[in-house]
Structure formats: structure tokens, C-alpha cells
């Protein structure tokens, strides 16, 4: 009689271990394996979250270990939601989020569409295009401050060369009207390749037979694009938007390196503002409430979005 794989594993198990395991049910074994992960998750994710929620109802300051911690109810939440400056940082974040996603999706999809065509040097171009996303955001932020430098910056020189304007007559990161666009440009430069790669995966997953069938039905290229390519790539595109949306909602390093939130507070995104409250002003309770609000916002929006994504996939 042939032995099952389970029997073979059982026979191969050393007697000492087998004795110790004797009597453990499958369920117990499953818990034994999953347990450490759950304990780790509880320790590093769930417990800090619950602790943050608890702190958000207090006036706790981490730099005042001897001060009495008072329960302040919803005061922190009400103060945050009625603070004009925080709404301005929300606006700055929304501007950054919307424009980076729009540009990255448009450019990323276009690049993926072009790269998907067979041509000489295809692989080389793909490698060159994805290089920016392999760099550290801190490094990217730093070298773009040089590119944006009015006197020696390559960006200003290029704009001056193309438009005839004096390169030192404008400062991308020092001008109130240009700085929000300066951070959008850099993030788009860095992360468009990521969107491109996801779109490329989507495009390459479309079976060629669908296009062949469409050809037989004499569908034009334009119609094939709108009725085959876009609908089949859409779930991938939506996934890319989700990833970039979540990432850019918590954008910190790149913008801190580029503008430090300035000029004034024009590019002070919520994550920068939150960091200032938590680790510069040391208003721990207040910052905890702020973090909870941001968490609920991202979680809520992401949940709605994921539901929409699932609907698109089911179509």
C-alpha cells in the first residue's frame, strides 16, 4: 500500500520530537505556528494604536515625565478640527496628492504603453526609466535642491534656455506660487516609474487573442484601446493609485529635504505638521489625536477605494 506524504513525514520525525508533539491537535499546531506572528503584530501595531487612542484624550507631554496627566475628553480633537492652520496643511496635502496622482497616472500609463511596444533597446529604456524610484527620497530631495538653485541649478537653466527668462529671476522652492509645484514635479519624477511598472504588468497580462478577435471584428485601434486596453488595465491602474495615494498622504522625507515645509507654511504637509506637534512642540496628547484623525481618514478613504476596486475587478 502506498504511504501518504503525511505518513512519510510522521515516520521521518525523530522520536523525541514526536513524543513532545503527541496529543497536539491540528488547531493547536496551527496556533503554535501563527502565535508568534500574532504576538508580534499585537506588540508593534495594535498595542501602539490603542495606546495612541488613549493618549489622544489626554494632555500628556512626553517631555514632562513628572507632570500630571489629565483626561481632556474630546478637546484635542475639537482643537484640531477647528484649527485654521491644520486645514491649510490639509489643503497643501490635497494639492500635492491630487496633482502627483494625476500626473503619475497619465505619464506612467503613457510610458508603459510605449514601453509595451516591441522596439530596439526596450529593456535598456525600461531600466533607465525606473532608476529614480530606486534612489533614497532624502538623496532625491537633496539633489533637487541643487537642481532648483536659481544661480547654478540645471532646472532653472533649462527653463531659462527654453523660455528666455533669467534663470536667477525665479526660485522654485523659495516662491510661494512655485514651491507647491516644485514638490509635485520631484515626486512625479521619482514615482512615475512605479506607476509605469504596474501599468506595464497590466498591459502584458492582456491576452493577445482578445486583440486578434477585435481585429477580426474590424475594431479600430482607438476602439480596441478604449474597450479592451483601458478596462483590463483599470484594476492595475487603480491599485497604483491606491499605493501612491497612501504613500503621498504620509509624504515626509522628500518634502522636508526640499522645502522644509516652506516658504512660510505653503508646503507643510500634514505629516510634517504632525511631526512638529509631536517631536518639536512635544504635545504628545494633541499629536496623538492628530494621528488618529489622519489614520481614520486614510483608512476610511482606502476602504471605500478598495471596495470600488473590487467592483471593477468583478466586472
Amino acid at each position: 500500500m502506498l504511504k501518504s506524504s503525511v505518513d512519510r513525514v510522521a515516520e521521518a520525525t525523530p522520536r523525541a520530537i514526536a513524543n513532545r508533539m503527541h496529543g497536539l491537535s491540528d488547531r493547536a499546531l496551527a496556533w503554535l505556528f501563527v502565535g508568534p506572528s500574532i504576538v508580534l503584530l499585537l506588540a508593534v501595531n495594535i498595542f501602539p494604536l490603542i495606546w495612541t487612542i488613549r493618549l489622544s484624550f489626554t494632555n500628556f507631554r512626553v517631555n514632562r515625565p513628572n507632570a500630571e496627566v489629565e483626561f481632556v475628553g474630546l478637546k484635542n480633537y475639537l482643537n484640531i478640527l477647528s484649527d485654521r492652520d491644520i486645514w491649510l496643511t490639509m489643503q497643501a496635502t490635497a494639492h500635492f496628492l491630487i496633482w502627483t496622482i494625476v500626473l503619475q497616472v497619465l505619464i506612467g500609463f503613457t510610458l508603459a504603453y510605449l514601453i509595451n511596444k516591441k522596439f530596439r533597446g526596450n529593456d535598456l529604456w525600461t531600466t533607465i526609466i525606473v532608476l529614480p524610484m530606486m534612489l533614497s527620497p532624502a538623496v532625491v530631495g537633496n539633489f533637487w535642491t541643487f537642481l532648483y538653485q536659481p544661480q547654478i541649478g540645471l532646472f532653472n537653466y533649462a527653463v531659462g534656455f527654453l523660455t528666455g527668462a533669467d534663470p536667477s529671476s525665479f526660485s522654485m522652492i523659495g516662491d510661494v506660487s512655485l514651491a507647491p509645484w516644485a514638490i509635485v514635479i520631484v515626486d512625479t519624477w521619482m514615482w512615475t516609474p512605479f506607476v509605469m511598472l504596474i501599468c506595464l504588468a497590466g498591459l502584458r497580462s492582456i491576452p493577445g487573442s482578445i486583440y486578434e478577435a477585435a481585429e477580426c471584428d474590424r475594431a479600430s485601434k482607438w476602439r480596441q484601446f478604449w474597450t479592451i486596453t483601458i478596462p483590463l488595465v483599470l484594476p492595475f491602474l487603480m491599485l497604483a493609485v491606491l499605493f501612491r495615494g497612501i504613500e503621498n498622504f504620509k509624504m515626509f522625507d522628500l518634502v522636508v529635504q526640499l522645502t522644509g515645509g516652506g516658504p512660510g507654511s505653503i508646503t507643510e504637509l500634514t505629516s510634517i505638521n504632525l511631526k512638529r506637534e509631536a517631536f518639536e512642540k512635544w504635545r504628545t496628547g494633541y499629536a496623538s489625536a492628530y494621528a488618529v484623525i489622519l489614520f481614520v481618514t486614510v483608512f476610511g478613504l482606502a476602504s471605500i477605494y478598495v471596495k470600488a476596486l473590487n467592483k471593477v475587478k468583478q466586472r
Partner: protein, 444 residues
């Protein structure tokens, strides 16, 4: 578990214990000093070799660049970390560090070792060592005297053709400015001027947003224009003092100076950006802390006779003040090596070590050093340092200083660099922010 297992475990435990003991012994004669990463820190490393030789204690150093210094070190203090045994912390931290028990109180130690605070420059004792201010409670030894002042291109000022043109335009000599009004004239005169085939600019001033830069710059002007932190007769009464008409004029002046006379893209500049602008020959005038002056003097491009130094000029009513910089050295409460750390402070306080400190580029705050008749002429910037130290004022050193500083950073940058609202709006807003902070602190 078999006997063999127990024996293996015991052997492993013994090895581990031996390792821990060895590590403990190795660390027993180490001391870690935390400070900002800048030129004076390198000089201190050299200076400390004398302490190492005499005490047998190995010195370790943790230096953090200025923009991250406060973040990193305040995190360390707040978390009760054991990284630093000695901290050369910023003057404004003293209130929080004292009230939260992060620094060791040094009164008994000073009494025991005969270290007298009256031996140090009074402004540095108040600024770096005392909390509450103007009370004999000492939490640090003045370690590095520093103050904001100016360096300028002496060689450009001396050019006959520029002197003639300046005199024709302004009716006076092109010389070190006596008032901020004169300083702006000079900066405007040099703005976008061609010198030796290169376009140069008026002044490099502080405009940094992220840490404390723009506040350190703006306050220099505000003090001299008549700004007061509070009602002298009623502490924490800010309305009408922080946002007085004189203070508004001072803030307007700083914005005018920024708009008219700084190099392009000078919207986020602090110590290092300003020194870069000056050393690269871009600007005629350079606002910075005195610690930069030894480096300027030694610089191949702008050093020696090419540069001169002057303290903050006066405001419209003749009053001149300067923003205090510098730090005191403290023993961190959570350190387990407090005795060695105190021994370091005792060594550092000695007059001969302080003299050596000055010679190596550290600004000693010891009166015996700075009042030496040879001091004023020992370096071209020494007299300017003394003159500047005589007119210092400092930012709030309250435990809530970080919140007070961040409010100032935002209000000043919003107005000066981003051009939002008026100077009156900015200072009214600042008075409101600061009042709120003190209200939260239970000061009213």
C-alpha cells in the same frame, strides 16, 4: 533535559556573564559627550585629549548636525537615554532640562570644587547655566560663548571706485554700518553689482524654516528696534510688547532686507548656507554666529585681511542688541558615569584649559581669558566678540520653549519669506500663540 544539556547551558551562561562583565569594565572609563557637529566640536575633540591623558578616561563624542541637533538630543533627554553622559545643549533647553530633572544640578559640585560663576561672562551664566533665570541655581558650566554678529568684505569696502560711488549716492563713507538703516543701504549698494566679473549680492541673513534659523535672525533686528518679550513689571503679559509698534517696524525692516538684498534662492538659509554664500564670494555682508569667524579668517578665498567683523548695528533709537548663541555643558541625570562627567567639567573649567580652548577656536566664557589685555588683539574678531557679548539678549528658555520657537518660526517665515499678511498680523498672531502656550502652561 539531560545533564549534558544542563552542562552546555551552564557553560553558555558563564561565557555570557564573562562577556557582559568584560563589556562593563571596558565602558567604565568611557564618557560620551553630545554636541552639535560643527567646527568648535572638532576643536573640543583635540582639547579633550589632555583630559584623556590626565584622567585615563576615554572620551567618545556624539555630534549631530545643527538642523537635527535639537530633535535628536531632546529625544535622548526625554526618553532618559544613556547615550550622553555630558551634554552641551542649547541655551534654550535649560528650563525644560532643569524642571524635568534631565540635568544634574551643579551648585554643590561648584561649591566643592571652588568653581565660581562670577568668574564667567555674566550673560553666559544667565543664558547657559541658570534656571530660573537670574537665580543662583546652576545646571551647566558656560562652555562656548556665542553671539550673532556680522562679517563683511573689507577688501570690497576699501576699493576707491566703490567708495567714491557710495559717497556720491549716500553722502557718507562706505564703512562699517552704525545703524541697521546704514546696513541696508550698504546691502542695496552691493546687490547685483559686478565685482571682478562676477555678480554679487548684498547680505546673507537667516531665513531657515525648519529649526530656529529665521527666529535667530529676526530677533537681532527686533531687539534693536524695541521689541520686548513681556511686560517687565508683569511676567507673561505679552500684548503690546511682542507686537508693539517698534517691533512691527523691526519685522518690516527684516522683510525689506530679505526682499532687497539677499542672493536669489536665499529662502531657507541658516548658518551653513550663509557661510557658504560668504565664503564663495557672493555677498558683501554676512550675518552669522561668532563661531564662524575663525573659519572665515582662515579661509583662502575671503580670509585674512579680506574680511572684517562688526557687532549688530543700532536700531532707529540707538539701541543695539544681539541674539545670544552658545551653550553650557551639563551632566545628564540618566548617566551612570556622573562622577567622571563631573571630573571632565572640573578639568574644563580650569583657566589654562579655557585659554587653550580659545586658542583652538572655542569661544571661552571665562572672564580671566576674555579680560586678558592681549585677548582683544589676539584675533581680528576678538574685539567684535567682546562688543557683541556685551549686548546680548536670548530667546525664551522656558520649558515650553520648543512650542514658543515653532510659533515664531511659522509667523516670521510666513511674513518675511512667503509674504503673507502684514508684520502687524504676524506679531499679533505671535502674541496670541505665545499667550496660548503660557496659558496651557498654567502661567495665568
Amino acid at each position: 533535559m539531560t545533564f549534558r544539556h544542563i552542562r552546555s547551558l551552564a557553560a553558555f551562561g558563564a561565557l555570557l556573564a564573562a562577556g557582559v562583565a568584560t563589556t562593563g569594565q571596558a565602558n567604565a572609563k568611557d564618557l560620551t559627550l553630545c554636541w552639535a557637529a560643527w567646527d568648535p566640536a572638532n576643536a573640543l575633540v583635540e582639547l579633550s585629549k589632555d583630559f584623556e591623558a590626565k584622567s585615563g578616561v576615554t572620551m567618545k563624542f556624539e555630534f549631530v548636525p545643527w538642523p537635527n541637533f535639537a530633535d535628536r538630543m531632546l529625544n535622548e533627554l526625554n526618553s532618559g537615554g544613556k547615550l550622553c553622559d555630558l551634554m552641551i545643549g542649547d541655551s534654550q533647553w535649560i528650563g525644560g532640562a532643569a524642571e524635568n530633572g534631565q540635568y544634574v544640578k551643579l551648585n554643590d559640585f561648584f561649591d566643592k570644587e571652588g568653581i565660581k560663576m562670577s568668574d564667567f561672562i555674566p550673560a553666559t551664566v544667565v543664558g547657559y547655566a541658570e534656571w530660573p533665570k537670574n537665580s543662583p541655581n546652576y545646571w551647566a558650566l558656560p562652555a562656548f560663548g556665542d553671539v550673532v554678529g556680522w562679517s563683511y568684505r573689507k577688501d570690497w569696502f576699501a576699493r576707491p571706485e566703490l567708495q567714491a560711488e557710495f559717497k556720491e549716492k549716500y553722502g557718507r563713507e562706505l564703512a562699517v554700518p552704525k545703524t541697521f538703516g546704514e546696513l541696508k543701504d550698504i546691502a542695496q549698494f552691493f546687490q547685483k553689482r559686478e565685482i571682478d566679473g562676477k555678480t554679487v549680492y548684498g547680505a546673507a541673513i537667516y531665513t531657515e524654516r525648519g529649526s530656529e534659523g529665521i527666529t535667530m535672525g529676526v530677533m537681532d533686528v527686533l531687539y534693536s528696534f524695541g521689541f520686548k518679550y513681556e511686560n517687565p513689571d508683569k511676567p507673561y503679559d505679552l500684548e503690546g510688547y511682542v507686537n508693539s509698534a517698534e517691533a512691527v517696524k523691526g519685522l518690516e525692516f527684516y522683510k525689506e532686507l530679505y526682499d532687497c538684498c539677499t542672493p536669489p534662492g536665499h529662502s531657507d538659509a541658516y548658518m551653513s548656507e550663509d557661510i557658504d554664500a560668504y565664503k564663495s564670494g557672493q555677498v558683501a555682508l554676512h550675518m552669522n554666529f561668532a563661531f564662524t569667524w575663525p573659519g572665515i579668517h582662515a579661509d583662502a578665498n575671503v580670509g585674512g585681511e579680506k574680511s572684517g567683523y562688526f557687532p549688530n548695528p543700532a536700531g532707529p533709537d540707538g539701541a543695539a542688541y544681539a541674539q545670544l548663541g552658545g551653550q553650557g555643558i551639563s551632566v545628564v541625570s540618566s548617566s551612570e558615569k556622573q562622577e567622571d562627567a563631573l571630573a571632565y567639567i572640573k578639568w574644563f573649567a580650569q583657566p589654562e584649559i579655557q585659554q587653550k580652548w580659545w586658542e583652538m577656536g572655542g569661544y571661552s566664557a571665562l572672564l580671566k581669558v576674555v579680560e586678558d589685555p592681549k585677548f582683544a588683539t589676539s584675533q581680528p574678531y576678538a574685539q567684535t566678540f567682546l562688543d557683541s557679548m556685551a549686548i546680548v539678549q536670548d530667546f525664551w528658555a522656558e520649558p515650553a520653549y520648543a512650542s514658543l520657537l515653532q510659533a515664531a518660526q511659522k509667523r516670521f517665515h510666513d511674513y518675511v519669506v512667503a509674504g503673507q499678511g502684514s508684520a502687524k498680523d504676524a506679531l499679533d498672531g505671535l502674541a496670541k500663540d505665545w499667550t496660548q502656550v503660557f496659558d496651557d502652561e498654567g502661567k495665568y
